[in-house]
């Protein structure tokens, strides 16, 4: 079952992003239900990351609209969108390298009007959920790539978003880190909707119910994992290319 | 120090506060058995070309005093500091001379800006002050003597002369600070008084170097002559560009500033500089025994005071010599270095024979009644054209009367 029969949490209509002559995202229609988990796949340059940047306000879309819980957020500033409960984990870990892990998470948790106790609780539970409690006092800049990925995950979580956009969360992770990440995501998904851009098909299989395939800035197809995996066109544009 | 806190708090006004400070640290250094003559000049920085000779001349003058047995049987010592063409240093070093070195008198300050920085300081700490530069006039302060010429003495002579020579339509170029502004106003006054017309007065900040547009503007205005009140290094560019535009022989030029500091004739080629007419209180080419002797004496002391080379002899440096000599005369007459007594002595209408000619201190204004000379620059030498004896500083006299108001302490903006 896809999210269609539930009220949409996030809805993009004819979303388009042009750079000069290039059309990175081409009139994309996309709906996501509350607490849904969706995987975006597609070859490099298919427009997945650009799509994310349009959703989070880092880019002003050239055309189309984005609605969050029915509210139009097209062209709103990133911080405004974030405050509504849209969290994003970018492709290259986007963290405060100069600060220690605890500071990083605190910054995320402390946003808005909260008492010290609420904040401390959030921090503690997030650290433990992601399992980076032992890194608490390490300077993030000095951590390994995989660990930084987890830290960023924690940062996004600490913002207590209603939806998380994750751009290649498993990149640069060891197998057992990947497994952990998958577990964490499934667990997060109980309360939070997720959109995950991922290349690693194993990882996708571990978490996804529904997959959306991007190709040349447009949606090629959308459907249950098995169906998509089986589809020949998808094989050509994506898996095939990947095998070659 | 804390003992004097109460005294401080009850004191009214910064002056009084400082007076208290001064009281704690008596300025008169008679005890030291030496008389200290302070010199504040820019030996480095943008004005070093003017400051160096003034400083050297000050030491030279002090040396001459000691040769003649010092003052009141005491040795005279020159205390000089380099103000580096930096206003903040003027402030600092003036305080230093007054409070730390405790000099009896300060000679110096070059630009009007620097004078207005140190004049209040020296007045506050009761240190007599001599300002030895030609300037725009109007300073009215009993603690300050101005030996240089003012516009009423020079411009008043220069303008009619060149207008008779060249014509009645004048185009003025002036440096954009108070000397330039005020002098330009005087030029206008005298031009109109002589039935002429100032077509335009353009002001230039001291860092302007490109005069292309101006030169075209002048040509389109077609004046009979140009009056230059340009000042400083950057503005030299005008004389070069003027010449290279081939205007030199089309429109003649007079100036109230060219060569005042002495460097322009050296930096500008004869082709660029010849024929510029100026008017100052002193030229090295003054043909009197006194001046010849003065120059001869300097030549004999080159190694001692002038690091081997002939200093730039200008109104600035010659007046610095005068400044020191006047103070010495004042002290001799008063028989003490007590500031007020010396001032009173100097106010008794003293008169001197200096290389520049006869100089008399005007008690009303603390400015000087002196000869001024008109000269034409030919191949880097000033050929004296005319001499005007005993010109009063009538501009300052019009606004300032220290006999009536001994406490006045301002620079008047003379209404024209």
């Amino acid at each position: 079952m896809t999210g269609e029969d539930r009220p949409p949490l996030l809805e993009a209509t004819h979303l388009t992003m042009r750079f000069g002559g290039v059309v990175a995202v081409n009139s994309v229609n996309f709906r996501l239900a509350e607490v849904e988990l969706r995987c975006l796949i597609g070859p490099n340059g298919a427009g997945k990351s650009t799509f994310f940047k349009c959703l989070t306000g880092q880019y002003q879309p050239s055309a189309g609209t984005v609605k969050f819980r029915g509210r139009d957020i097209t062209g709103a500033a990133p911080h405004q969108i974030a405050r509504l409960g849209v969290g994003i984990k970018t492709q290259i870990p986007n963290v405060f390298n100069g600060l220690d892990v605890h500071e990083n998470v605190r910054l995320a948790a402390a946003r808005g009007v909260k008492t010290r106790r609420m904040i401390d609780r959030t921090i503690a539970e997030v650290m433990d959920r992601v399992g980076i409690g032992d890194l608490s006092s390490r300077i993030v800049g000095t951590l390994a790539h995989g660990q930084r990925q987890l830290v960023e995950l924690a940062i996004v979580l600490a913002g207590e978003p209603a939806i998380m956009l994750l751009d290649e969360p498993s990149a640069g992770m060891t197998n057992e880190e990947t497994a952990r990440a998958a577990a964490i995501l499934r667990e997060i998904n109980r309360t939070t909707a997720l959109i995950v851009v991922e290349h690693d098909m194993q990882f996708v299989k571990m978490i996804a119910h529904t997959i959306t395939v991007f190709h040349q800035g447009a949606i090629l197809m959308e459907g249950p994992v098995a169906a998509v995996m089986a589809d020949p066109t998808v094989r050509d544009v994506y898996l095939g290319r990947r095998a070659a | 120090m804390n003992v004097n806190r109460r005294e401080f708090i009850t004191s009214a006004g910064g002056a009084a506060a400082a007076a208290a400070a001064a009281a704690m640290f008596p300025v008169a250094a008679e005890a030291a058995g030496e008389i200290l003559i302070g010199g504040l000049h820019d030996e480095t920085g943008g004005l070093d070309f003017a400051g160096k000779p003034m400083q050297q001349m000050l030491r030279f003058a002090v040396g001459e005093l000691n040769e003649n047995g010092g003052l009141l049987g005491k040795k005279v010592r020159a205390v000089t500091a380099d103000t580096g063409s930096n206003m903040q240093l003027y402030q600092t070093l003036a305080e230093q001379m007054a409070l730390r070195d405790k000099v009896n008198v300060v000679e110096g300050g070059i630009t009007s800006a620097s004078r207005e920085v140190i004049r209040p300081v020296l007045r506050r700490y009761h240190v007599l002050y001599f300002y030895n530069t030609l300037y725009e006039g109007g300073v009215c302060d009993r603690n300050c003597f101005c030996t240089g010429t003012t516009p009423a003495q020079t411009v008043e002579k220069l303008v009619p002369y060149v207008m008779k020579k060249w014509g009645k339509k004048v185009y003025t170029l002036a440096a954009d600070y108070n000397y330039g502004q005020i002098t330009a106003a005087w030029v206008k006054k005298y031009v109109e008084a002589n039935g002429g017309k100032v077509l335009s007065t353009d002001f230039f900040p001291l860092d302007v170097t490109n005069f292309g547009p101006t030169i075209e503007k002048i040509q389109s205005a077609k004046p009979d002559l140009i009056m230059s009140v340009l000042v400083g290094a950057a503005h030299l560019g005008f004389y070069r560009q003027w010449a290279s535009a081939g205007m030199k022989h089309k429109i003649p030029m007079a100036s109230t500033t060219f060569g005042a500091g002495g460097t322009e004739p050296i930096l500008i080629t004869p082709e660029e500089g010849n024929g510029i007419i100026t008017c100052y209180g002193y030229y090295p080419t003054i043909d009197t025994p006194a001046n010849k002797a003065f120059i001869a004496k300097i030549q004999s002391k080159l190694g001692e005071y002038f690091d081997g080379t002939m200093p730039l002899l200008t109104e600035l440096s010659e007046c610095t010599y005068e400044g020191v000599m006047m103070y010495a005369a004042g002290v001799k007459k008063a028989g003490t270095v007590d500031r007020m007594k010396v001032i009173e002595a100097l106010e008794s209408g003293m008169s001197f024979e200096f290389p520049a000619g006869k100089v008399t201190i005007d008690p009303k204004t603390h400015h000087c009644i002196r000869n001024v000379y008109l000269a034409d620059l030919e191949n880097r030498k000033f050929i004296i054209l005319e001499q005007f004896d005993q010109q009063p500083p009538s501009d300052t006299q019009a606004v300032c009367n220290l006999e009536k108001h001994p406490d006045s302490n301002i620079q008047y903006q003379i209404k024209l």
Binding site: - | G45, P205, N210, P213, E216, S220, G237, R240, L267, E271
Partner: protein
């Protein structure tokens, strides 16, 4: 009528002036993303080269067109090797470092040559236009600026070095890909940029006179022209110089030099706000 023509000439002269003072900086910035705040002092060194050579009896034209670029270029190479190269990729550090260099050079030259103006006199006679005379030197400057642009264009377009240069501008590893050590490219670029700067300083010294602090008058303008120009070296310089030169000169004619300068700066700031990537960051993308 003649007056209008004269004004036009003055405008072109101003534009040429901006081109002269900013080309060197542009080459360095365009290729290395290094903003050299000591730019003005490099010009000053060019000026002093002429003065000193003049004292030594060298023909001013030779020292302006040959010696100054040569010597300042060499100085640039040395500076790059000993100092600047340690800051590549750290833009702000580079700014601070070159600012330090700038202050140092001013101080150093002041100590050695003193702070008095040294004049350079070269006259090219003057040209009669209607009732006006315009200095021949103005035309000379305009010509040099034009030649400079054409030459730079030729080099970038048709020489191997130009190819490497353009490559490096696109992508720093390109040079390596073409089998040239980037450090060599950088050294050469900085040298050439410095040489152009020295030339500019030398050519302007007859107009401005030579003082240790003369650079300050230029650096801001050059700086702005480069930033406003944007990534494309030739097109950027031309467009920015034309725009700023015209604005400032018209204002100068209409009012005073101060207003002219202020207008130039003001336009620059506003432009930056509208086109943060500079003119060629938006327009003429494809040009060099």
């Amino acid at each position: 009528m003649a007056y209008a023509l004269v004004i036009l000439i003055e405008i072109v002269r101003a534009v040429a002036g901006l081109v002269l003072i900013s080309t060197g900086l542009m080459v360095i910035f365009g290729m290395m993303r290094v903003i050299n705040i000591a730019h003005g002092e490099f010009m000053m060194l060019g000026g002093y080269t002429v003065v000193i050579a003049g004292k030594a009896g060298v023909n001013p034209w030779v020292s302006m067109l040959v010696l100054a670029p040569l010597i300042v270029g060499l100085f640039g190479v040395v500076a790059e090797r000993l100092f600047i190269r340690f800051f590549y990729g750290r833009m702000i550090d580079t700014l601070l470092a070159t600012w330090g260099l700038s202050l140092f050079l001013i101080g150093f030259v002041t100590v050695v040559f003193g702070n008095t103006v040294a004049g350079v006199s070269v006259s090219l006679g003057s040209v009669q236009i209607g009732g006006f005379r315009v200095s021949g030197y103005a035309f000379f400057l305009i010509a040099v600026a034009a030649v400079l642009l054409v030459a730079t264009y030729g080099v970038l377009r048709h020489t191997r070095w130009g190819l490497i240069a353009r490559g490096t501008m696109q992508n720093a590893n390109m040079a390596a890909a073409l089998g040239v050590s980037p450090s060599l490219v950088y050294m050469t670029t900085f040298g050439i940029g410095s040489a152009l700067t020295g030339l500019a300083g030398a050519l302007l010294s007859p107009i401005t006179g030579v003082v240790p602090t003369m650079g300050i008058a230029f650096v801001a303008r050059a700086f702005i022209t480069v930033i406003i120009g944007g990534p494309a070296i030739i097109m950027g310089t031309i467009s920015a110089a034309s725009l700023l030169g015209t604005v400032s000169q018209l204002m100068t004619f209409a009012t005073t030099p101060v207003v002219g300068d202020v207008a130039l700066l003001f336009v620059a700031v506003v432009l930056l706000r509208i086109l943060p990537q500079g003119i060629t960051g938006k327009l003429f993308r494809r040009s060099i």
